[in-house]
């Protein structure tokens, strides 16, 4: 029984040639996906929130709700 000579060397480089481009592509893809599904919407959400944000109005609303200890609602 004479079998063909099996693969003796170069197995790691063969594997790397195949898997490294795939792994780089997947990692880059994951990063790009995260950027456009998470970080960009988050930046937009913050921009929208602060576009018309009136901090004094918000403070007074919180004060009337009675959550502060340093300043009580205006009625008291």
């Amino acid at each position: 029984m004479s079998l063909p000579k099996p693969l003796m060397r170069g197995m790691l480089s063969k594997r790397l040639k195949f898997h490294l481009p795939i792994s780089f592509a997947l990692a880059m893809g994951a990063a790009i996906l995260f950027k456009y599904t998470v970080t960009e919407p988050r930046k937009q959400a913050y921009a929208d929130f602060y576009k018309n944000y009136d901090s004094v109005k918000e403070f007074n609303a919180m004060r009337e709700a009675g959550i502060f200890e340093s300043v009580r609602p205006s009625g008291e």
Partner: protein, 176 residues
Amino acid sequence: MLHLTAGRVGSLLARRATAAFSTSSVRMASHGHDVAETTDMSLPLYWDRVDIPLPDRPYKDTLTTGDQSLKQKEQGPWSQLSKEEKVALYRLMFSQTFPEMKQPSAEWKSVVGGIFILMGLTGLIVWWQKVYVYPPAPRTFDADWQAKQYKRMLDMRVNPIEGFAAKWDYKKGQWK
């Protein structure tokens, strides 16, 4: 009297019953005929393992005269060995081939079954604990306390951009 053999015990119930009786060799030594065979770990060992393929010694190290003459023939050119002789030489060296070693067994069913049974038992124990052991929950778990807690969180504007208070519509006084 329960005897623990070296192999697997048959039914799961038997296995759980015998597990309660420890198998320390100190206990068993007094019985004499029940002692399990011990391997002499100071000598080279044989094993069939996929991850360590070449054991310390051949499988058969005490050869019959026929085997010895075959081993002598092995010293010469291998092209003169017939196929059966080559297989016989292999079987002298190794007990199981790789396909034989890799044969799947049905052990996983016992393992998974045992896992589920024990998870079920654990569930029963936890249920009993809920009824008889745990003290009553703190008042902070009451529904009206939690409702007041959520109202206070909204008043404080907790996470107003992407989180809790972001989901509340302050103009309409309702969830978005």
